[in-house]
Symmetry: C2
Subunit: 222 residues, 2 copies
């Protein structure tokens, strides 16, 4: 299968189409038009067609896409038809939330190793995984062959955490710590910024309020 | 100040510029070019200029932007110069992670009410906030005048949670539950999907692997 280099924003949209197709399949739908798929994803139908065109031809003009087939194609394209083992650094609240999130496991992401520096946490078990001291990280991650690491430490410990993950052979890192991390160019880094979600919503509320005020300010004929 | 209706993706980029300007100010920089700002944000400089043009004219050709001034302008544009009270529904791991995230408070987001249906959690305190039963949600959220709600319940309880928030007068909702929610058109809803971050990263790793395999498959002259 072709795995072209495409923009992160395209990958995110493909993930969203994959999710919507899953819902459509659960709703018992057999076919879906690019217009309907676009509507549910909040994009234009031209965008849907363009995003899918990277991977070949799907669907038929006037007929739409076969829900089940496109779902499976996207699943394979996105690499969700296999298991991804992940190592978690930091065993605080964010780590716990990620670990408990059922949806990850269903999509093939398994946390197989958890590390922290806090001696009170070391030795505790989350499900089948025992929290280990960060000094065990490099040999353990190497032994397990894990290539996906998650940094969920406080900001001050995040660079050290990612350095250890990289030293252990990890090639993809998700960073939940609120600071910029340096990684070698061959390592893929994604920064997850939960504050941006709050900020974007706050802007929408403020914009709606401002429009409401302007409307109210228009004099009304009585 | 003008608060134009702009795409969510633009708002997200503005939030990212705001964050970068904060870092630049901490690094002691006084001026920044649109090229440099663009580089750090991972976009083109034309994009930076276009995004900022919605709000007037910033910076001077050849001189760049004044870091401190643009930071303050963006802060006001994004509504981060005020306090946003939030209500949390669900007091599980995701809620706890959000509540503990220091960065939110620093940006003006305060969780002033937390609700759950679990009687063992009701009455517990997180900092200054006591967890209350969901049946207290509507009167409490109304009394506090909260307009921003966060759904952090399991998927099956999420629609009921958002219905209560809307009934209580909330106009913006962040949904962390992995299911689609229905809200009236005047309510702003943002779905936060942490799985998409993992999925995007997995695609990048797979794409890099596929390229590596192709490179290795090329016969080498000896």
């Amino acid at each position: 299968m072709r795995v072209p280099r495409i923009a992160d924003s395209t990958v995110a949209r493909l993930c969203s189409y994959h999710r919507i197709l899953e819902e459509l399949a659960q709703e018992g739908r057999r076919l879906v038009s690019s217009r309907r798929l676009a509507e549910r994803a909040g994009v234009t139908s031209a965008q849907v067609r363009k995003d899918l065109s990277y991977f070949g031809t799907f669907g038929r003009r006037g007929l739409g896409y076969h829900v089940q087939r496109l779902h499976e194609e996207l699943r394979a394209i996105l690499g969700l038809d296999r298991r991804w083992d992940c190592a978690l650094v930091g065993a605080g609240h964010i780590a716990r939330a990620l670990y408990s999130y059922q949806d990850f496991r269903r999509r093939g992401f398994h946390f197989v190793a958890i590390f922290d520096t806090n001696e009170e946490l070391v030795g505790q078990r989350w499900g089948e995984v025992e929290i280990q001291h960060v000094r065990r990280l490099v040999p353990e991650v190497r032994r397990l062959g894990v290539r996906l690491g998650v940094v969920a430490t406080p900001a001050r410990a995040a660079q050290e955490a990612v350095d250890l993950l990289v030293a252990a052979g990890v090639t993809g890192v998700l960073n939940f710590a609120p600071r910029k991390l340096n990684v070698p160019p061959e390592v893929h880094l994604r920064n997850v910024n939960m504050a941006i979600e709050f900020e974007s919503l706050a802007y929408s509320l403020r914009a709606a309020e401002a429009r409401g005020r302007r409307r109210r300010a228009v004099p009304v004929e009585e």
